[in-house]
């Protein structure tokens, strides 16, 4: 059934009447996502032009629609509050698109919202191709299939997905975990879910410089995914030390976050690391051809 998201997931949109929220709501509906409503305080009782009802609070929306998933399009100062509101209303999975949330806000959110899965923040969302898309990703590049993908990046993910799709490798679920220092769902969290997903035959991990998520992922794969092929890619291998490149999390400081360390960790775990995205489909096919 893929992970985190399927055809039956009921999704609400926080910030549904904002410019971004409205635009992507329309796109998600076009993709086939079951959008059941949205929230904008003070606009409760109205409807957006797609006919979806707008509520004043997340709780009102959940009570009326049975939504289990939310996607958050609110400015950084209000994003943590939106996550707390979702948690409080019993939401089980929240995708937070917002970029620029203070790291301390996220520290508090992840420390206290036990049991709610958070994707992001500063992420493109997730998609289970052919079933549902909750995010801002271009739906047309995805193809249904049996490859899982996890990425810290947005557009680089589209690049890789496009290559996979064109090579005949459809996807079970693609998760953009986000480029911030503090994120709700890590590579390891996703790998744990893919490990037991019967609809995923192999996983592509698309990391980048900065932090130690990739090293943690490699260690997890070595121990817990002996029978599921994994292929990795590390973005920013040509980046110099000390420069923050776009993502707040993408910075090499001292000995932390270097591509060498990440490549070494993956190779030690038996995970081939593609030099360039275009090699990924071939590596996946090679790994799938090896009998487990």
């Amino acid at each position: 059934m893929a992970i985190y998201l399927d055809k039956n997931s009921k999704v609400l949109v926080q910030g549904i009447t904002g410019r971004e929220g409205l635009f992507h709501t329309q796109r998600m509906i076009a993709y086939g996502t079951q959008i059941v409503g949205g929230v904008t305080p003070g606009k409760g009782g109205t409807r957006i032009d797609t006919g979806n009802p707008v509520f004043d609070t997340v709780k009102d929306c959940v009570d009326a629609t049975g939504a289990t998933h939310t996607i958050i399009f609110v400015p950084p100062p209000y994003a943590a509050d939106a996550l707390f509101e979702a948690y409080d209303a019993g939401i089980s999975l929240a995708v937070c698109i917002t970029e620029g949330i203070p790291a301390h806000d996220m520290l508090k959110v992840v420390a206290t919202t036990h049991g709610m899965r958070i994707i992001g923040p500063n992420c493109p969302g997730l998609v289970s191709p052919g079933k549902s898309l909750v995010g801002i990703m271009p739906g047309h590049v995805f193809r249904p299939g049996r490859i899982g993908l996890i990425s810290r990046s947005g557009t680089l993910t589209y690049e890789i997905v496009d290559l996979l799709s064109k090579a005949g490798l459809g996807q079970s679920t693609c998760v953009g975990i986000g480029g911030d220092p503090i994120i709700g769902t890590t590579f390891v969290d996703c790998l744990r879910s893919f490990a037991t997903d019967s609809e995923t035959d192999a996983v592509v991990v698309c990391g980048e410089i900065g932090g130690s998520d990739e090293e943690d992922a490699a260690a997890f794969i070595a121990e817990h995914l002996p029978n599921k092929p994994v292929v990795a890619f590390i973005g920013g291998r040509s980046a110099p030390s000390g420069k923050r490149l776009g993502h707040a999390g993408a910075i090499i400081s001292g000995n932390t976050g270097t591509p060498q360390s990440k490549v070494k960790a993956f190779e030690a775990a038996g995970v081939p690391v593609a030099e360039r995205p275009s090699q990924i489909p071939m590596l996946v096919k090679e790994r799938l051809a090896v009998p487990a």
Partner: protein, 384 residues
């Protein structure tokens, strides 16, 4: 600067050396005349290594103080990291503390644990990364549960674990509590006291203090924005803001292939592709999501403004970003007479790809199909 950081520390009850912030030699003399004793004159500059650069002096009489202050104020401090130097405009006159012992304490964010981590070692005054490398057992850490926050037992545990001299013990919970309060209040990435000094008369004092703030959290403390503004703006960040990009969406690098991409991941991927093709990127530039033609045009101008750029590779995978807008921006940028032109390779796929290609074709441009191909072409073009 140091005196401002120390104000924040005093605000949460962390003792700092007695002292006064001054701008003139006469103020130094007057202060020492009123407060006889041994004083340290510390140049208030933003660069590191001011001690070795001659920015710190000791005085024990009003005349000596005035004399040394005259030497310091107006002086330009220089070192390897700061070849242009920084002029000293003010001094912090601080008591010369008789040191019995030095410790190190800091709080920072552990990304992997998603928690604040407190770091303590009895080896104060040293570079903590070096201590970690050579004597890891000398460093004690505690990961704070953000739901609970700081509690005094954390300070006790760390002080005992790091074997801090007994003289530190009593004051340690209140100092660490103050440090955590500051870390939380200002949403800091790092708060650090190095060294935390135990004086011979038994006081525990933050002798040097450092705070690194999270840009994303600064809006909660407008009063600190002014401070940040005093810092010499990172040239790349300033250029990014002037262009209308996010603060970390542009960085100048050493190569000669200019790069524009949409998305940080694709931007880094494009740099990598250029390297794989045997070239080197002259910059990182992420136009972000949903960029309009105007921003593309300005970004083009920013990149070619760097004289070492010999060729440019624009790599767009349209998701939110629409191909027609990007194409329009490119055409407009090239239409300007006031802009330096370099050989250009465009790769354009995704949303509104067809419309974009038509616009480019109208201007006589023919996009490549893949990132790898684009990188190869750009490297060839740069070689001329």
């Amino acid at each position: 600067m140091e005196y401002q950081g120390k104000e924040l520390f005093r605000g949460v009850g962390i003792p700092t050396p007695r002292g006064v912030f001054v701008r003139s030699p006469d103020d130094v003399a007057a202060f020492i005349a009123e407060n006889p004793g041994a004083w340290v004159l510390k140049s208030q500059v933003l660069m590191g290594g001011r001690g070795k650069a001659g920015g710190i002096k000791f005085a024990s009489s009003p005349d000596e103080g005035r004399e040394l202050a005259r030497e310091l104020i107006g002086k330009v401090l220089r070192n390897e990291q700061n070849p242009d130097g920084e002029e000293v405009k003010s001094l912090l006159v601080e008591e010369k503390v008789a040191i019995a012992s030095e410790a190190y304490v800091s709080i920072t964010i552990d990304r992997a644990a998603k928690k604040p981590v407190v770091i303590v070692t009895a080896q104060g005054g040293m570079d903590v990364e070096e201590v970690a490398a050579h004597d890891p057992d000398a460093i004690s850490k505690y990961w704070i549960d953000a739901a609970i926050g700081f509690e005094p037992f954390i300070a006790r545990r760390l002080a005992f674990a790091a074997k801090l001299p007994t003289g530190f013990q009593r004051a340690f919970p209140s100092i660490l509590g103050g440090l955590y309060a500051m870390f939380m209040e200002y949403g800091a990435n790092l708060v650090e006291i190095n060294p935390l000094v135990l004086s011979e008369d038994g006081r525990v004092i933050a002798s040097d203090a450092k705070v690194d703030l999270d840009d994303n959290g600064l809006y909660k403390h407008p009063e600190l924005k002014a401070w940040k503004n005093e810092a010499p703006a990172d040239e790349d960040q300033a250029a990014a803001l002037a262009t209308g990009l996010g603060i970390s969406n542009y960085a100048k690098l050493d190569g000669n292939i200019g790069i524009i991409a949409n998305g940080a991941g694709l931007g880094m991927g494009t740099m990598d592709a250029v390297r794989n093709a045997g070239g080197a990127a002259a910059n990182f530039l992420d136009i972000g999501g949903g960029a309009q033609a105007e921003l593309v045009k300005k970004s083009y101008n920013l990149v070619v403004g760097d004289p070492k750029v010999k060729a440019m590779f624009i790599n767009i995978f349209g998701g939110i970003t629409r191909g027609d807008q990007v194409a329009k921006g490119i055409v407009e940028a090239l239409a300007g007479d006031d802009v330096r032109k370099v050989p250009l390779v465009v790769r354009l796929t995704g949303t509104n790809e067809k419309e974009g290609r038509e616009i480019l074709a109208g201007a006589g441009m023919n996009p490549v199909e893949t990132m790898d191909e684009g990188a190869r072409r750009a490297v060839e073009l740069a070689r001329g």
